[in-house]
Structures are given as structure tokens and as C-alpha cells.
Symmetry: D2
Subunit: 344 residues, 4 copies
């Protein structure tokens, strides 16, 4: 059994990691830390884990060596202690934004301050297996992924990989997101009477995850528009791009199907009947799947590519466990079998 | 025109009062205070009031004399300054719990500390027109009403007034409530991911509003059970009582119909067809109506009486304006004409 | 008093018209028809109207002459009987899609069958006062407006009117819509367990309302993408366009402010603080306001213009009453005073 | 591997069974039938099963022999063909109401028509392991359980089993339920605009599941009040009873803890801190747990006992699989490991 510890276990990403690792057949969950809930049973914070584990939250300053360390801390924290963390475990997945961008200047552009450990940036593989599966096998350091970036990247990946879209034309990505994206700490805007029933476009352009999309897909003219809607888990990316002259729906089918064949957690959803004809995040709650779909207006080359994920799973903890499986040589899907619910 | 001021205008009850008074044909809204939003336009806090008023929140320490003062402060506040408020206006409606209970000992029992102005308690009329209409006409001081107490009182009033139920048997009232009941200040439990989709029984018995129900209906054996559900505005009280031997459904119809005839804001909802056969709070959002209904199991005398209200209207601001109308000699329904929406 | 009749009163648009006309100070509501609810009280279908009116639904085949006729029938119906309706009333507002498009060929393109009364098309004014106020004054025939078209048109109107955007570049409009858009008749996709919590992109491009946007704004390269979210009332249009070289945020402020000054039901929402910094449909439920806002990325000329409306009000019944007010010479805002609720 | 077939696989209970059996390590899912979706992939109806199974819905008239038959048909159907089903499989779990009540007269009382196969009633074990674990081991025929009955039975079981409550006093059970209880077939009342945000008391007393509670707990004076709230999955039962003189909170703790120790899927939730102090259905979506809690007013003996379940799992499919595990000698919890999500 592999010993693993979660640093930062009381947030939503940490809680989802806890759920996955407690049940993972190859993992012994060793510690989960929380400063604010120190000494409490993890099930007192994450009530779904009652009768699953009797682990208590431990002190983040009293970490013990393990095989695998998951860092689920707020952005900007891990980079200050990464040297120390590296002495505690040979394998690290950091789920924050700290090690996703390779270029320190790009990091500073999007996050507003210089990176504290720029020498570590090249050591981290960007932790999206659909983009970096081979690099992740046997790697020791993987970043997490931005949830909005992941939905965007997986919406566009079939188009970019197959060379089907014009790269010099603007790509507009509209993201509709649930409330768990904001994390476990509330603020006036997450107060239920103000947050229920919203359709709230809170960022017209310039969202930080834009940097991850540009880096990973090689796009230069891309804009993310963020809108909060009434849902707890889930994000839907609707990406608008322009296909190259002559590209047909048949070409797109081929590109999307290839992606689904090559990746265990990607599915193409494009049905002619039934209620679920396109990707839909609500049926993905708790699942690691990314559902992708598309429509092409052949009259003008306007392609609309859609990707739905659970932001806490494929957009965070699920992908982190998927990375761990690749890093440690397990089956990529191990511990990620829950398929989601219908109805929900 | 009557000059009116709202002390405490940035909360939800204060906001609803603002909406009502801005549009009230006999009222000139003079001041609305807020310490935390001092100097801001009221529409920056209550976005529905944009283009309705250019009033800004003023300093609660700089109140000017007016004809009518509404106190919409947190519980426990108004009682400490009531002498001062009384020098500023001849007419006061206090929407907090401070002047609802007549007996200082009863107040201390439910609110946990001695009342700071017990001499004022007898001066206030309990501000529910369905119970005290004649006393309110021309009165100068009226209390507000507890939202849960109001739903409970109006559910039981037809039965109590007509002498139809056994008063020595326990009355169990199950209240299902929306999130706006908790006020505009958030807490961890109102964080959207934790509050959405709840069915959360947060108080099995002993809710403070029990005292208002006991006082106003003369009941001694009554219990309120509180459950939060996913809704912003609205409360439904489902009251379980036992009718006296021989009481029939026909007797109940008579009692409920009388109540609806006598009270402009009470409606009986008991239909045999359609989707809205029983009282339902969602169609009451923004409305001052209390919808009541009932079912009697004639085999054992178990009567289930139901009342739906909008907690911010009939349960707070709407009733306060209704009281003002009675106090100042206006038509009781003035400014309270909005009937609610369907669908919503 | 003006006598008015609603043909098709049991649907959601008809219900909203009923609410508005019952309370309208210059209107005597004469008949409201419904084949499926014939003989029922209107409040049995629209429970918010209990105690507001004792009108019963009457037979659509037994219409009597009135001053003003509102047609709230399913699309494709009114055009077959418009000659007959015109004998019954000198003034008609048709809320369906039948008389919105002026060109019969354009109609056939979007609605799939030839128009049954093409000679009537030029007689109808497109019923959006923000576009055709002067034509509507004294007009006898006005069309309704598509709810999605209205949100789109009002999002783009300040930009188009002031000549600020490139008309040859594609305009992408992402619409997020509530469930009442689909009307009062359910289908498998509106079954609550399937519809709750959705983020469902049901039309990537080619929505019928595109025709109205093209006609009214003179745009040729515009695409509407439709996504259902969990809300009953409300639509948010997020429009992506490209400003002409040199256009600044200051230019946009000027254009948007002018629109709000000229139109009683348009408001600019663009705040630097508070929770409601941008247009948000939830606070508009029941209100006739269209809230508009914008963001400009000056680095690349990408402008994001946002418009929020209540689809049943500004997107249907509210605008119809606003048209009637103009047609009959009343104050444009008469009967449309309800400002919406906060919180909700 | 045990071959199993689901008769009636396109409903919600059938879909949940499909999810569980597709992943069950000892089961080979052989057929799943659906008349309305004949020939479709099961994942076209239950989108969470995409990439889980390539099974298609088969003809209910073409069933083949298997080891285990699950009947997930509408109430009143299985009793007419039970003889035939019994020739196809030695083991049957019927999830409808057809074989829950042992007494044909009781069945007729609650379901309104005589039972078609009364001779089969004594052959079925009531399929709630918490009540009939030993009988279920090796049994060949088990009934399903009513979801509301299960929440009620498990709320009251600790009190009844330990002899703590007065059996001659009325027990009032208030049930708050999500929309999936009504099944996959929509009706006007489940249309999203009408069903969203409801607090709808649709049955004040006399719900059919009352019969199951009376039979299983031996209660004679019990009433179920049903209220729909805005949630898809989940039911909360809040039961009001009266303890015998002298019963203390300590006695209750002992009774509830025993129940949790004896039953793998029962948990006591009664915390002094945190957000989840009492049972809450939303964190149980997809889980087979029944969470129970209680509060006792020692001043008058009023006990409020609460039970939360997922109506499709512990209230239907989960319990059915738990029964199968017992019937076939597997570990009781096999295939039921998913613990639910937080947040959701």
C-alpha cells in the first residue's frame, strides 16, 4: 500500500480527494491536515465520509514522510514551501495554480505577483492526462488543473489536435459554473438568497485560467467569459471558433471520436434523440468524465464545441488521482469508477 | 404626505420596507439608515430599486423627526433606544422581536436576557391586523411579527377563534422555510453549496417564535419544528391539532371562509383540481397574502391546517405597512397591491 | 375605461397579461379565453390572481367586440384568423411570432412554412418601444417580441445605434434562459428531475429569434447560442462583438447612458462594488426593466454586452402592455410599476 | 457470476438498479427491459451509464431465464404475472408495492382494489434488512420498500424496538420529498416552472405508505403528511412521538447507537458543531445510508426523530441490492460502497 497525505483537507477539493483516497484500493490515507478543523473527524466537515473513515484532521505543521503528497491549499501557498514538501515525499501533486504555468512571467501576468519558486516550474508536468499522459507516467511532480481551463481545453482539444480551426481568429469560450467553484469559504456573494437562481456574468474577459488554455493549446487569441448559475457542482464550457475552409461535420466526428477512444474519461455526447443530446454537467456530479460535443454551422464555419465536467472531479481532485495513478503505475482509472447519477 | 423613515434599511426586511414605502402613495420616504452601507445609493444594495429612488443610506445617528418611524434592526437593539426613537416620531412600528411579547418574563424565557425597557411592552400592540385590527386603528406603537409565528398563528386562528380544537392536546407545527428568513448576513450554513438543496431540520422544538404563538392564541402545549428547504422567500406552516368531538369538515369550511371574508389579505386555498390545491408560498413572493387551507381526518379528529406566506411580506414588512395603514387611517391594503407571480 | 380581451389566457404569457390588465387603471378586462380551462376561474390556473378577479375563462369561439385585443396564442395560429380578429377590435397586439418579421420569405426561412397572411405583415409595427416608440404611438397593430430577441436586441442596441461595432464581424450571443420560456405545456425535458440543475446548451446556432435580431438591428452575421439553466423566469444575453478601431470605454458609457435616459424601462448596471455589478435577471422577476451592462477589452476591441430581462415581462407581456400604452396614448409605464424583488 | 435481469429499466428505480448492477462484482447484467425505449442503449436514457455498458433495452415479452429477477414496474403490474416471473428465476425482488403488505385486505384498503395474487403475499419477505435481515438470508422472494415508509420506519425503529414510546398516542410523521419520488413520467405538476421552489403539502394524511409503517412497526395511530420541496433526490422524515414516562436522552442515545452498530447502512447524526448536525438527504444522493437523529424535549416527553435517505437508493434500488446480497449470500454491502458527495 502506498501512503498518501492530503495537505489542506477541509476545503472542497481536499474533501473530494479524501473521498477518493479513502476508497482507493492501493492507497493508505495517512494524514489530512486542516488548521481550522484541527482535531475534528473528517466526517464532521465532510458528512459523506461518516462510517468511511475515522481519520481526524491533523496539524499542517506536523507532516510525516509519505510516498505521495497532495497539496490542496489556496493559490499562492504551496510555492513558498515546495522545497520542504519535497523532502517529505518523492511524489507530489499540487492542486493549486502554483505550478501550472511554466513561464514565471506568464504566471506573474495572470496572478499579479512574481512566482516564489520559479526553479520548480519546469519540474512540474501540467497534470491533464489527456494532454500529457506519457509525461505523467513515472513523473514525480504534477500540477493540478484549473477547472475552467480543463473544460475549455477538452472542448477545444479535438479541434486543435486535428488542426481543424483557424488559430488566428478569436476563440470565445463561455463558461457556466456552479457555486462549488468558489471554494468552501463563503462570502457575501455566495449567501444563498443572493446566489440562488443567479445568471451572473462575473468576468466578461481576462479570467486567470485563460493563461492555462493559451499555454496548453497554443492559442493566442482566446477569451473566457464566466457566468455563475444555480448549481453546486459542474461547469459547462461552450467554445466558439472558426473551422478552416472545407472542414465538415464528418471531420469533426472523426476528431472527437478519436479523442474519446484514446482517453478513458472522455465521452462524445451528440445524440439525435432523448433528453441528454449534448454534454450536461449535472449527470457528472462525482464522476471523472469529461463529456464533449459539437455543432458546426457549415454555412459560415462557426463551430460550437461543448465540454461538461464536474469541477471538483475532472476539474480538480479526480484528475489529480488520475495523475497519481499514472505517476505510480496503477491503472489510470483506478478509484475513479463512480459514473455519476441519473436523475440528480 | 406622511414623512417616514426606516432605521436599518440594508437588511432584507428593511429592503422590503423600502420597496413598499417608495411606491406608497401617501408616504414620502425621508431617510433610510445603514451603518455598513452609509452613503451608498439604496439601489446599490437593493438592485430592484434602481430608477425607483435616488435615496442614499444615511447615518443612523443622524435621524431627523418624522411622522412615522420603522425600526428594522436586529433583535435586542430597539429596546435600548426606544425612548430616543419616541422623541423623533409619534408613530413607531418596530419590526424586531423586542416589543412582541407583553410579559417581560416571557421575553426573558425566550430571548435569554432581561428586557431593557419593560415599561414599553404594554404600549405596543402586537402588529398582526388579523388579530388586533381594531386596536391598531389609531395606535401609535405596533410591534412587528415573527414570520414563523405569523404562519403558525394564521394557520390556527380559524380553528382557535371558532373553538374547534382541543386546547389541552399538543399542537405540532412543522415549518418549512426559505433562506431569506436568516437575514442578509451570511454564515457558513448559508454558503450556497451547503444551503442549496437542503432539507435541514435545524430546530426540533423550542424555537423562539413559540412564545408569540402561545401569547396570541392562548395555547399552552404547542411545538414548532423548523426545517430549511431550497427556496429564498416563503414559509409554510403545517399545523397538526385535534378537533373537538363532532367537529366536521363543514364546520371548518365555515371558520376558514369567515376568516377570509373578514381579512383582506387572507385567502382560503382548497381546490379539487389544478396544480395549486393548497397554500403554496412560492406564488406569494412579494405579496402580502396569507393563504390558508386545511384537511380533517374525520376518523380520528386529526386536523392539518396549512398557512403559506412570504416571510418578508406578510411575515415582516408587508404586515408592518398594513399596520401603518391602520394606524394612520389609510385603506388597510394601500401600497400592498402586488399579488405575486405565476409561474415563478 | 378601455375594454380589452386576451385570447389565450391560460399560458404563461397570457397569465402575465392577466395580472397586468386586471390591475391596469385604464383597462376593463373583458374576456380571457382558454379552450382547455373553459369555465374555470382564472385564479384556478394562475393562483396569484385569487381575490384579484372573479373572471372565468371563456370560449375562444365566442369573442365579443372590444377596444383592444391581445393574442397570446401558440406560434402559427393568429395568422390564420387575423382578418376575423380585426373585425372584433380596432387595436391588436399579437404576442406570437406571427407578425414580427416583415418579409414573408424571411418568415418562411425561420419558421419553416409559408406565412398565411403575408398582406398583414406590413401593417404590424415590431412591438419593441426602444426601437419603434414613435411608430407605436397611435398604431393599431403591434407584434409581440421574442424574449431572446429582446435580450439580444437591447444588449446590442446601444452599440449599433451609436455605430460603435464592426458590422461585418460575427456577433456571438450566448443566451442563458429559465424554464418558463418553454411555456406552460410540459414535455419530458421539463420534468423537474431532468430540468433541475441543468446547464443544457440546446441550440448551438440557428435559433428562430435570430431572424428578429437581424431584421431589427440590421446585422447579417449573428449567431444565438441557447443554454437552459435552473431558473424559472429570466434570460441573460451575453453578446460578443468587436468595436471599431479607437472606440473606448468612455464611448460605450455615453451610448449606454443615452439609451437609459431615453427609455423608461432601460437601466445601465455597471457597478464597482456590491453584489449586483452587472445585469442579473433574478431581481427582475415581474418587472418590465431591461438591465444592460458592458465590458470592453481595449487591448483587442472585444466588447461583451449584457442584457437581463424577465422573459415573461419585458420579453413578452410587459412589452405588450407598454405597446398598448403607446398605441392608446397612455403613459408608457402605466400598470408596469412593479420593480421586482430583492432578495428572491 | 450470477445472471440478473431488470424488468422495467427505463424508470428511475430501474435506472438506479442498472447503475448498481452494472458495477456489481458478482453480477452479470443479462437483460433490462423497456417497452417505450425498446432497442435503445440504456445510456441514451440514463446518460450516466455511457461507457459503462453497451446493453440495449430489450422486449419485456422476451425474458430469458436468469438467476435473479428484479421487477421495477409500476404498482399493480407484477402481481398479475408473478407466476410467470417465478418460472424464469428462482430469486425475485419486486420493487413495486405489490408484495409489501401481507394481508390482502390491508392491501385493498390502501391500494383500492383486491390483490390479484393473494397466495403470493406470504411468500415475500418485506425487503428491509434493518427489520428482516435473518429472514432475507437465503430467501427467494423479497418485496421492495416504500421510500417514505423506509424513512419513517427507520426514524421510528430505534424507539419502537427499545420500547421507548407510547404506542397508543398518535405518531405524526412529516415527510419532505424530492421530485424523483414521482417517477420518470412527468405530469403537469412536475413541469419545472410549477415544481421549482415548491413547498407543497400534497397529502395531509392517508398516504399509502402508512400501511407499511403500521405493518412493520406495529403502530396503529400513525399519520404521514407529505410535502414536496425543491430537490431531486432525497426524503426526510421527521417523526413526532411521545416517550414513556422517565425516558431520557441517554436512553435514546443507547437505542440509536445500537441500531447503527447492528446495521451497516445506518448512521447516527447528532453533532454539536459543524453544518451537518442532523440527518440531511442531500449528502446521501447515490448512497445507501440511512442517517438518523433525534431530539427529546424532556419537559413533556415530545421526541422528534429524523431519518434522511436517498429515495432511489435506500428507499428503492439500494435496499433491493442489499436484499439480493443477503438472499444470495454475498456481503451485505457489496456494490453499495458509494458514500455520497459533499458538497452537492
Amino acid at each position: 500500500m502506498i501512503k498518501a497525505t492530503i495537505v489542506g483537507g477541509s476545503g472542497y477539493t481536499g474533501g473530494e480527494l479524501l473521498r477518493l483516497l479513502v476508497a482507493h484500493p492501493e492507497i493508505e490515507l495517512f494524514q489530512a491536515t486542516s488548521r481550522s478543523h484541527l482535531g475534528e473527524y473528517v466526517y464532521q466537515v465532510h458528512p459523506n465520509l461518516r462510517k468511511q473513515t475515522t481519520l481526524k484532521f491533523s496539524d499542517p505543521d506536523l507532516l510525516q514522510p509519505v510516498d505521495m503528497l497532495f497539496l490542496a491549499l489556496p493559490h499562492g501557498s504551496a510555492q513558498h514551501k515546495i522545497d520542504q514538501y519535497a523532502t517529505l515525499a518523492p511524489n507530489i501533486v499540487d492542486l493549486s495554480a502554483d505550478f501550472r504555468l511554466h513561464d514565471p512571467q506568464v504566471y506573474e501576468h495572470w496572478y499579479g505577483s512574481p512566482h516564489a519558486a520559479p526553479n520548480w516550474l519546469p519540474k512540474f508536468v501540467y497534470g491533464l492526462p489527456e494532454l500529457h499522459r506519457e509525461e505523467l507516467r513515472g513523473a514525480h511532480f504534477a500540477s493540478g488543473v484549473g477547472c475552467n481551463a480543463t473544460a475549455s481545453n477538452l472542448a477545444l482539444l479535438p479541434l486543435v489536435k486535428a488542426g481543424l480551426i483557424e488559430l488566428d481568429k478569436q476563440v470565445i469560450i463561455e463558461l457556466k459554473v456552479g457555486s462549488s467553484e468558489g471554494g468552501a469559504e463563503g462570502n457575501p456573494g455566495t449567501h444563498h438568497p443572493e446566489r440562488a437562481g443567479v445568471i451572473r456574468t462575473f468576468s466578461a474577459y481576462g479570467h486567470r485560467h485563460t493563461g492555462e488554455v493559451m499555454q496548453e493549446l497554443g492559442l493566442t487569441n482566446v477569451s473566457l467569459t464566466m457566468t455563475s448559475v444555480d448549481l453546486v457542482r459542474g461547469v459547462l464550457a461552450t467554445a466558439h471558433a472558426t473551422v478552416k475552409p472545407g472542414v465538415t461535420t464528418k471531420d469533426l466526428w472523426k476528431a472527437y471520436r478519436s479523442m474519446a477512444v484514446e482517453n478513458p474519461f472522455v465521452r462524445v455526447v451528440k445524440e439525435q434523440r432523448g433528453l441528454y443530446r449534448a454534454p450536461e454537467p449535472k449527470v457528472l456530479a462525482g464522476s471523472n468524465y469529461a463529456d464533449v460535443g459539437f455543432d458546426l454551422d457549415e454555412s459560415n464555419g462557426h463551430v460550437v464545441s461543448i465540454c461538461a465536467i464536474d469541477n471538483l472531479m475532472k476539474g480538480a481532485a479526480g484528475t489529480a488521482v488520475q495523475c497519481m495513478n499514472l505517476m505510480l503505475g496503477f491503472d489510470e482509472a483506478l478509484g475513479l469508477e463512480f459514473p455519476g447519477l441519473h436523475p440528480i
